[in-house]
Every structure is written in structure tokens, then in C-alpha cells.
């Protein structure tokens, strides 16, 4: 359908306008998610904050500001010439790595939920360098793998090694925080990009094996902290730790399950207003949708996210140059794994990690990153259509 629309002569006539190049379906889906997310963040925080004598719109206001900033960033990312982007990429990557080093310095980075992942800024704002790193890795390795320095259709081993090197440093730094959720998402996205780049299959198989063995060794040798093990165990046996991670996962599942078909109605969820689920405006935002909007509403959210992913694939497929394909594949993989990790955790399919739900969760860094990712998709859509 988009193909049809984009070939519409009237649409083409507007190409030079402000919104030129925006994929309308992708834009509509993301827009709808942002609106729903705003309502959910408000619903998650309003009652508890007013009941405890705080500003009930505290999170709402900040969330809207984050979205506005994010949209500006997305717009900027969309219209920027990707060659310019390429020039900036090493700088962004460097900034991300710098941030990831900074965050590990005691006193600079702050620890939340067992991971030292945030840098505090004035006015109570915080940045998460890992989110910047995500984007720089995706753009960086997409460039490395799409540039042909030799006369071949596929990246050489050397290209793949270079790409892995670019990805490895930030991943290692994030591993030190440790934020296993983000490590998982970035690693899986890197493997996906390498797979789609046309690199030899042995690379893909090899990387998957490394991931499996690495994970096994990590749990055995104690690289993974006790806190993470506990989260992992509570995923396997939710009754193992009734007050800690297991408690949170159980509460999350009960909250979603209690919504039933139609839910309790927006702003009217006793589980949510009772604040039985922690981190409800960020990592567990989907529980609010589950309880208050029911299967109809939360199913619709999954559907919207599905649309975003599928539009991303369409953009990747139609891109005329390998860079466009890889960068959109990377963004889609990032979104997909993060969505699956987050909702999967909420529904008890995945172990508990602290990753937000794209476009819905409260949180500046992730909102900016998500919307930049969205901008990258639009950029590819606008610049590289065949």
C-alpha cells in the first residue's frame, strides 16, 4: 500500500515539503504508540503520586517533553544526508564509549536495579550512554559491512572482524555495568545485521555458538552477578523468591492476567493504582496496558509494534544500497529484540532485565534513541527508495 501511495504523483509533488519522505504507515503507528504510551505513563503514575501528596502530572509532563525532544531528534535524523551521518558516526560512537566508561566510574554513574547504567545530569535528568551506543553500533557496523573495498557482493572476513571490533568494545563496557538486557539486544542485533549483510554463513553460526557458550560460561564462572542469577532463577521458578524478582514477575503476570478481555478501563486499574508492580511507568509499562485496556487494547499495542517492524522490513527490502538495508535491518532487530525482551519479561516468557518498551515506556534516553531509530528508518525510506 505504501508503495502505491509513494508512487502517487500527488505525493511526489510534496516531496520537498517539511514532512517529505516520511512513511505514512510507520509514522501513524509510531504516533499512535506515543499517544498510548503517554496515556499509560500517566495512568501508571497519577493515582500513586496524588495519593502520596506528589504532583500527579510529574511523569506526564516529563514524558511529553521527552517525546517533543525525541520528535525533533527524529526529524533531524530523517532529513540529514546519510553521508553526513557517516562522517559523524565515529564521533557518536566515541561519545557512546566515553559515556559507557564514565558511567562505570563510581560517583559519576548511578546504580539502579543492580546495573550502573545512568549518568545523572542537572535538574534530575539522567542519560543512559548504552542507548547512544546502540545507535552508533548499528550505524557503524552497517557502514563497515556495506562498503565494498573489494570486488565482491559480500563482506569479507576482514569486514566482519572490523564490524565485530566496533561492536565489541561498547558491549564489553555494558557487560561491566552489568546490563544484560541491553547486551542481549545489541548482540542479537549485530548478529542479525551480519546475517543480512551477506557475510559467510559460518560467521552467523559461529557467533550464535559463541553467544550460547559465553552465556553458559558466564553463569558458571560467576561473571554474572548473584543479582542477575536470582532474576534468571526466578524466571525459571517464579516461587523461588517471593519478595524479590520472583515477586515482581508474579505481580506483573497477575496484573496483566486480571485485565481479561476488555480490561478495567484506562486510569481505573486497582493493581496499577495500588502500585503492586514496580517500575510500572518504565520497564513494566505493558502491565498497565494489560490491566486497564485488556486483551483488546494490549493486543492492539502488539499489533502496532508489529506494524512498525514490518514497515521497517519493507524499507530495508526496498532500499537501493546495502547501507540502507543494513541500517534499517539493524534498527528493526534492535526494536524487535527489545520489544520481545520487555513484553516477554512482563508476560513471563523471558527472564527479568531492565529494558524499556520502545515508544511506550517513560525514560528520556530510550525515548530519544527510539525516535532516532525511527528517524533512521525514515531517512532510509526517503533517500534510498528504488
Amino acid at each position: 500500500m505504501s508503495t502505491f501511495l509513494n508512487r502517487n504523483p500527488y505525493r511526489r509533488a510534496h516531496r520537498t515539503s517539511f514532512f517529505a519522505g516520511f512513511d505514512p504507515i510507520l509514522t501513524a503507528a509510531v504516533g499512535a504508540l506515543l499517544v498510548i504510551g503517554t496515556l499509560l505513563v500517566y495512568a501508571a503514575t497519577r493515582d500513586w503520586y496524588s495519593a502520596n501528596g506528589l504532583d500527579p502530572e510529574y511523569y506526564l509532563k516529563r514524558h511529553v517533553i521527552n517525546i517533543v525532544i525525541g520528535i525533533v531528534l527524529a526529524w533531524g535524523t530523517t532529513i540529514i544526508d546519510y553521508r553526513l551521518l557517516r562522517a559523524y558516526t565515529p564521533f557518536i560512537w566515541g561519545l557512546g564509549v566515553f559515556g559507557l566508561i564514565l558511567v562505570l566510574i563510581p560517583g559519576v554513574g548511578s546504580e539502579i536495579n543492580g546495573a550502573q547504567a545512568w549518568i545523572g545530569l542537572p535538574f534530575g535528568f539522567q542519560v543512559q550512554p548504552a542507548e547512544i551506543a546502540k545507535i552508533s553500533i548499528i550505524i557503524g557496523i552497517s557502514m563497515l559491512l556495506s562498503e565494498r573495498t573489494h570486488n565482491s557482493d559480500e563482506p569479507s572476513n576482514q569486514d566482519v572482524l572490523k564490524a565485530l571490533g566496533v561492536a565489541a568494545l561498547p558491549i564489553l563496557l555494558i557487560l561491566l555495568q552489568p546490563d544484560m538486557g541491553t547486551v542481549f539486544i545489541i548482540s542479537a542485533s549485530v548478529v542479525t545485521i551480519i546475517a543480512v549483510s551477506g557475510a559467510p554463513t559460518r560467521w552467523v553460526v559461529g557467533l550464535l555458538l559463541v553467544a550460547v557458550i559465553g552465556g553458559f560460561v558466564a553463569t558458571k564462572t560467576g561473571v554474572v552477578t548473584e543479582y542477575q542469577l536470582k532474576r534468571l532463577q526466578s524466571f525459571v521458578d517464579p516461587n523461588a523468591d517471593t519478595q524479590g524478582a520472583g515477586y515482581q514477575l508474579r505481580q506483573a503476570r497477575i496484573t496483566v492476567g486480571s485485565g481479561g478481555l476488555l480490561g478495567t478501563g484506562l486510569f481505573d486499574g486497582p493493581q496499577t493504582s495500588g502500585r503492586f508492580v514496580p517500575e510500572q511507568q518504565t520497564d513494566f509499562i505493558f502491565t498497565v496496558a494489560g490491566e486497564q485496556l485488556g486483551f483488546i487494547g494490549s493486543g492492539f499495542i502488539i499489533f502496532l509494534l508489529f506494524i512498525v517492524l514490518m514497515r521497517g522490513f519493507a524499507i530495508a527490502r526496498r532500499s537501493t544500497d546495502p547501507y540502507g538495508t543494513l541500517v534499517s535491518t539493524g534498527v528493526v532487530a534492535w526494536f524487535a529484540f527489545q520489544i520481545f525482551e520487555n513484553i516477554g519479561m512482563t508476560l513471563g516468557l523471558m527472564p527479568m532485565t531492565g529494558v524499556p518498551l520502545p515508544f511506550l515506556s517513560y525514560g528520556g534516553s530510550s525515548m530519544f534513541a527510539n525516535l532516532i531509530g525511527f528517524g533512521l528508518l525514515q531517512n532510509v525510506h526517503a533517500s534510498h527508495r528504488g
Binding site: 495500588g274 502500585r275 520481545f340
Partner: protein
């Protein structure tokens, strides 16, 4: 894009689509398939029920006098979930508290322990409820002290005071009523688990014994429930449900408060009298029953207990005593749980059996001092020969040997140790018609059925005990191997499965292995009095709502007929009357202004008391009155109370005195409990203020108000 990239992209797309599908499927499972389970789970997380117990219905006697009602008390409660968190588990707080309230520390400590926490054998006085409900340590606190506790919540953490309804059993005229009324208490975990098919709320009280337990579902009412929705900090956010409590219904019984008090007193006096004569008199029971419908007018058991003690809070000693043998096991309701050999009261059955067997009851029979049965001589009571006497006389003076002879002859006729297949078994069959060995079905919990030691019972007994008697020497200590016991064991091993001559002979005078409950004997004598109908004894007459509407009326239940021909029954009735005129209870009833009929019983008991002394005889007296148109059957039993007449006979007379308003040798109709000669049939108006009408226990103004006493005295 090369072909491999394209393929990889497609595979990735399919993979991601399936991830999303997995999320969607999982969402469907959680919200639709398992939705109801999670909804319940969510509700139990968010909601807190606050239960307001309903006002418990009253229990009133047949004229509306309250036997159990409610009063308002001030409870001091301890929250275990809070004091357990203190470093010393609340010991200091409780010590402080008992000091203030003037209670015993050990009792209160015990009272706040869950029964499950304590080792076996040390549970007396423990809390049968759960940890999550506030445990009352007293329900009758002084408001001043309660206020001091509430004001100093820092000093008394987890301790609160709140007004509560206390079940109160008025102690008018010295009444206890514990055995028949029962008492109330907190729910046990077993109750809560729904084991008895009912559902309760944790903070409710339920009937634990007697009528309180039997009719709990009517009396308890429906508690009011407020469901609060709370947040993670337990702060209340909304109220979801709010139902008002529905008061329990009142139970109208056939009991008469004055008669109950009189019966308890008569029984206690009988026990005292027996003890004065040197008998242990470790327990007893008294029952008054309406012979025309089986309604129980009074039911007493001794030793008794104060049902109010449970609400006040039992001390460890009190709780232990309830079941201690030394204290006479007051918890046991001997009227329906005590099993005793009926002794001579059982001769009513033997008379019927003799008539069935074709003996001419108009003839005279020899009453020798003893009858030789096999190689053993069965002696008359006090070994006296009475010459040749009529059956009427034989009952009156309680001759045993006449019945020995008849029972022995019939046993021989039925084949002796080689019983015929079509044995007549007149004695057993007569006993069966009186429903010996079957529960009366009285509407009180835990009735015992008694035992009819007939041929079948013998066989069952033998198969269980054969091994013991046939290996007696190996199974017992030296001290138990006296020549008599060894011979007994040998006989039991040899032919313990058969009714032996001795068994048959003993059966005819109510000795041996046949045992009955006092309520059963009352039911039997009521049947003799009313012409043969066996009524199910009942206490409940009706359930009446607090607004006066009748919820349920309980009907009398006819359980059958003793099947005795009118001539025999008339002879039996005359014989029982003769007992009071010239027989064993003539001395007791000499000059009694109301004609009564009755039968004494003095049952030998085998075994020893805790202190090693031989057990004394069971004293029985079963009676009915007035003889001409019987209305009331009265039975008294005093365990180890000695002779039938002197202990229980006088006790029964005392009960008759209260019933008919007899003072000295005159009956004063204005002091009779039922002036028209019958208990009230109309349901009374129920009010907590209803007072008992005059009787000999509370003569009050009645004497001067009525001109009749003189007229009676003149007669």
C-alpha cells in the same frame, strides 16, 4: 542486495513476526484462557475483608426466658503479627499488660499461642484461631484501663481495645446449662478449611458444643462484610463491597430454665449425698422428658462447667480440668455420652421378654436367695430369699432370682452353648424393640449409641479378643494372673463367641456387657409411660427470626413402638407404680402428693478407680409422673453413687418437687412449673428481659398472690 541477503532478510522477518506472534499468544493465554485465575489472584492481593460478626441469636427456654444471649464487652486484643516482630516476641508487652489488667501471665501467654505452636499435651488454653486475627486476652476489660492501653500504643504495640459482643449465659437460680447449651469460640483451621461443608470468615465465632454447635448455622447469622481495596502500602484506596450483618435467629427450646436449674441442683445434691455416704460419686446425669412428644425439658450432667468461662478466657488450669479424669472430665456430657449398665431399671425389658416367652405374669414365682446356674450360684440382691411372690412385687422389691431363672430356662431352651439356628431370644428381641444399642437421635452432638450384648455382638467381640484370652499368660503381667482371672480367660478362649448361661442371666437384670446412656433410659421409660411410643428426644422447638417470624418448627419424631400388648404394659406400669408404694423407692416417695412410678437400679461396676479402690455401684432411678396420666419421664444416674433409691431416687423426687411445686408434703399449683399440667406449646415472645415465672426455686410473690395453698394443705 545479493540472494543470500534477501533470504536472510526474509528469514529474519519471519523470525521476528513469529516472536510477535508468540507474545500475542502468551497474552491471549494470560488474559483470556487463564484470565479468571489471575483476576482472583489480583483480587486477593488488593482486597481486604473486614468482617463485622452478626449478633448471635438467643437460646430461650419454652416460655421465652433467655438461656444464652449477648452482652457488650470491651476486648483487649493482641496482634501476633505485630508483637512477634518485637525482639523478645512480645514477652515484655504481655507482662506489662497482665500487670495492668491483673491477669495471670502464664494464662495470657498460653492464650496468645496458636494451638499448632505448642507441643502435644500442653495445648490447653491455646488459641484455636489463626495468627492473623487479633487474639482477645480478655473480653471484659475495665474501660479506664482499656483507654490507657489505647493511648499508649508506643508502650503496647499490637495491642488494641474494641467493643465486642460477648456470649452470655445467665446464671439465674444457680443455672449452668453448659452441657446442653454448649459455648462459642474462635474458628479453628479445620473449620476454615471447609471440612464440615460450611464456609466461615476468619473473625467469626462459632458454636463449639451443645445446642450452640448443633444449631450454629441458625444462631450465627450472616456477618457483614466490608471489602476495602488497598495499595502496596496497605493504604485503603476504595471500598468495593459493604453488606450489613444479618442477625442470627433465636432458638426456642423445650427446656425450662427453672427445671434445668432444679435438675442441676438435684443432681449436685445427689452427688453430695452419695459422697456423704462414702461413695466416690464421680459423675452423674439427669434428664426430664415430655413422654408425649420426646421434648427434653431439662438435661444435666455432673460435674458441670461454666459456659461463660470460655468467653472470659480459660486459665490453663481450667482448660486442663475440662478433660482431666481427676476433675471428673467435666467436658463429658454424661447424659448422652456416658455408658453404664442399666441394672434393675432393665427389668422392664425382662418383664416384656417373659410375657413374650409365654410366662403367665399373673402367677406367683419363687424368689429364692440364689439360683444355681451351671457351676455358679447367682445370688439375689443382698442374698435374701423373698418366698413366692407376684411379678408386680418382684419388680417392686427388685427380686433378681425370678429373672435369673426365667433367663436361664430360656437360654437352655434356645440350645444353651449349642444355640439353635432359630433361637427365640426373647430377651434380646425385647431389648431390640426398646431400641437398646441405637442412638436416641437427640439434637445434641456426640451421642453414644450404647451396646446391646446379643449373640452377634458376642461373636464380633470374640473375633477381636480371642487372641488376648487364648494367650492370656503371655499377654499379661504376673499381677493379673490370679486363679479367677486365669479361669475367666480360659473360658473366654474356649467359648467366648457364645452366649453363656452367665451372660444370659446377667442380661436379664441389666448387668454384663449391655450398656446404655441415661438419655436412652429416659426414652425407654417415656415409651412405657405413654403406651409404647418411642419418641426421638428433641430440645429445639423452633427457630425464630429477630423480627418474630418463625423460620423453622421442629416436629416430634416417632421412632417406633415397643410392641407390648396392653395387658402386659398395664402390668408393667402397675409394677412401676408399686415400686414407689411398697417397693425399693417407697421410703423416698412416702407421702409424696403426686402419684409417681419408677424403678431403682444399682449396677455393679468392675474395675478400679485411679486411687486403686474398687469402683462403686452406679445409682439409677428412672421414673414418670403423674402415674394416672403420665407427662414427664425423669431419669437420674450417679456414677459410683451407691444405691438407686437413696442417691438417685431422692434426686428424682427433688426434680418432681420442682415440676409440681411440691413443698414438704403439699403440691402448690401456683408454684408448679406448668400450671395446666403440660409444658407450653405456643412459641413465646423473645426478649432479653423475660423473667422466669415463680417456682419452688424462686417462690417470690406467688405464695401470697394465690389463695390456693391453704386449700391444698387442707386436703
Amino acid at each position: 542486495m545479493n540472494q543470500r541477503s534477501r533470504l536472510s532478510l526474509l528469514v529474519t522477518q519471519i523470525f521476528f513476526a513469529s516472536l510477535m506472534l508468540a507474545l500475542f499468544g502468551r497474552l491471549f493465554y494470560l488474559q483470556i484462557a487463564a484470565g479468571p485465575i489471575y483476576r482472583d489472584a489480583a483480587l486477593s492481593i488488593q482486597s481486604r475483608d473486614v468482617v463485622t460478626p452478626a449478633n448471635r441469636g438467643f437460646i430461650v427456654d419454652s416460655s421465652g426466658v433467655p438461656l444464652a444471649l449477648n452482652k457488650v464487652g470491651l476486648a483487649i486484643t493482641v496482634d501476633r503479627t505485630k508483637i512477634d516482630k518485637l525482639p523478645d516476641k512480645g514477652e515484655a508487652v504481655i507482662r506489662d499488660l497482665v500487670g495492668l489488667l491483673g491477669l495471670n501471665y502464664a494464662d495470657v501467654w498460653q492464650r496468645t499461642r496458636l494451638c499448632g505452636e505448642l507441643p502435644k499435651g500442653q495445648k490447653a488454653g491455646c488459641w484455636t484461631g489463626s495468627r492473623f486475627q487479633p487474639i482477645p486476652i480478655t473480653k471484659e476489660a475495665d474501660p479506664q484501663l482499656a483507654l490507657r492501653i489505647v493511648e499508649r500504643s508506643d508502650r503496647y504495640p499490637g495491642v488494641t481495645a474494641s467493643p465486642v459482643a460477648i456470649r452470655s449465659y445467665p446464671e439465674n437460680l444457680g443455672l449452668s446449662g453448659g452441657h446442653v447449651l454448649g459455648y462459642v469460640g474462635p474458628l479453628t483451621e479445620e473449620d476454615l478449611s471447609g471440612a464440615n461443608g460450611r464456609t466461615y470468615f476468619r473473625s467469626e465465632s462459632i458454636g463449639k458444643a451443645g445446642l450452640e454447635s448443633m444449631y450454629d448455622s441458625y444462631l450465627r447469622g450472616v456477618p457483614g462484610i466490608k471489602t476495602f481495596i488497598v495499595d502496596r502500602k496497605e493504604a485503603v484506596t476504595t471500598t468495593r463491597k459493604n453488606t450489613e450483618p444479618i442477625a442470627g435467629s433465636h432458638l426456642v427450646t423445650s427446656l425450662d430454665m427453672r427445671l434445668q436449674a432444679a435438675s442441676e441442683k438435684a443432681l449436685a445434691d445427689a452427688v453430695k449425698r452419695a459422697r456423704g455416704l462414702g461413695f466416690p460419686a464421680d459423675g452423674g446425669a439427669a434428664i426430664v422428658m415430655d413422654v408425649r412428644n420426646g421434648q427434653v425439658l431439662a438435661l444435666a450432667s455432673h460435674p458441670t462447667f461454666d459456659p461463660n468461662a470460655f468467653e472470659r478466657g480459660l486459665s490453663v488450669e481450667q482448660a486442663n480440668n475440662l478433660f482431666s479424669e481427676k476433675a471428673g472430665v467435666p467436658a463429658l456430657n454424661r447424659a448422652l455420652q456416658g455408658l453404664y449398665a442399666p441394672a434393675s431399671t432393665f427389668k422392664a425389658v425382662s418383664l416384656v421378654a417373659a410375657a413374650d416367652a409365654g410366662y403367665d405374669l399373673k402367677k406367683n414365682y419363687a424368689c429364692p436367695a440364689e439360683v444355681q446356674v451351671g457351676n455358679r450360684a447367682f445370688k439375689n440382691f443382698e442374698s435374701r430369699a423373698q418366698g413366692t411372690i407376684s411379678i408386680k412385687k418382684a419388680i417392686a422389691i427388685s427380686c433378681d432370682t425370678i429373672w435369673y431363672q426365667i433367663a436361664y430356662d430360656e437360654w437352655v431352651r434356645d440350645g444353651g452353648l449349642r444355640p439353635k439356628s432359630n433361637a427365640n431370644d426373647y430377651f434380646y428381641n425385647a431389648a431390640k424393640r426398646f431400641q437398646i444399642g441405637v442412638k436416641t437421635g437427640i439434637d445434641l452432638p456426640s451421642e453414644s449409641s450404647g451396646r446391646l450384648a446379643d449373640r452377634q455382638w458376642r461373636k464380633d467381640w470374640y473375633s477381636q479378643n480371642k487372641d488376648f484370652y487364648c494367650n492370656y499368660k503371655e499377654r499379661t503381667k504376673k499381677s493379673a494372673q490370679t486363679p479367677f482371672l486365669l479361669e475367666l480367660a480360659r473360658e473366654n478362649c474356649l467359648n467366648g463367641d457364645k452366649i453363656r448361661a452367665g451372660d444370659a442371666v446377667n442380661f436379664s437384670i441389666g448387668q454384663g456387657d449391655t450398656v446404655i446412656t441415661p438419655i436412652k433410659l429416659a426414652q425407654m421409660y417415656a415409651a412405657i409411660a405413654n403406651g409404647g411410643t418411642i419418641w426421638k428426644p428433641t430440645i429445639a422447638k423452633a427457630v425464630v427470626k429477630s423480627d418474630g417470624t418463625v423460620v423453622k418448627k421442629f416436629q416430634s419424631e416417632n421412632l417406633g413402638d415397643i410392641g407390648v400388648d396392653p395387658v402386659t404394659l398395664k402390668l408393667l406400669q402397675e409394677s412401676l407404680h408399686e415400686v414407689t408404694l411398697t417397693g425399693t423407692s417407697a421410703g423416698v416417695f412416702n407421702g409424696f402428693p403426686v402419684q409417681t412410678s419408677g424403678k431403682t437400679g444399682t449396677a455393679q461396676v468392675f474395675g478400679r478407680n485411679l486411687n486403686g479402690s474398687l469402683k462403686a455401684d452406679t445409682s439409677w432411678y428412672a421414673a414418670y409422673a403423674p402415674t394416672q396420666s403420665p407427662r414427664y419421664a425423669v431419669v437420674m444416674m450417679v456414677s459410683q453413687g451407691g444405691y438407686g433409691a437413696s442417691t438417685s431416687g431422692i434426686g428424682v423426687k427433688n426434680i418432681f418437687e420442682a415440676l409440681f411445686g411440691v413443698q414438704g408434703r403439699t403440691a402448690k399449683p401456683e408454684l408448679a412449673l406448668f400450671p395446666e399440667g403440660k409444658p407450653p406449646t405456643k412459641l413465646p415472645r423473645i426478649s432479653p428481659a423475660t423473667k422466669a415465672k415463680p417456682s419452688i426455686l424462686n417462690p417470690g410473690k406467688a405464695v401470697s398472690a394465690s389463695p390456693t395453698p391453704k386449700a391444698v394443705a387442707k386436703r
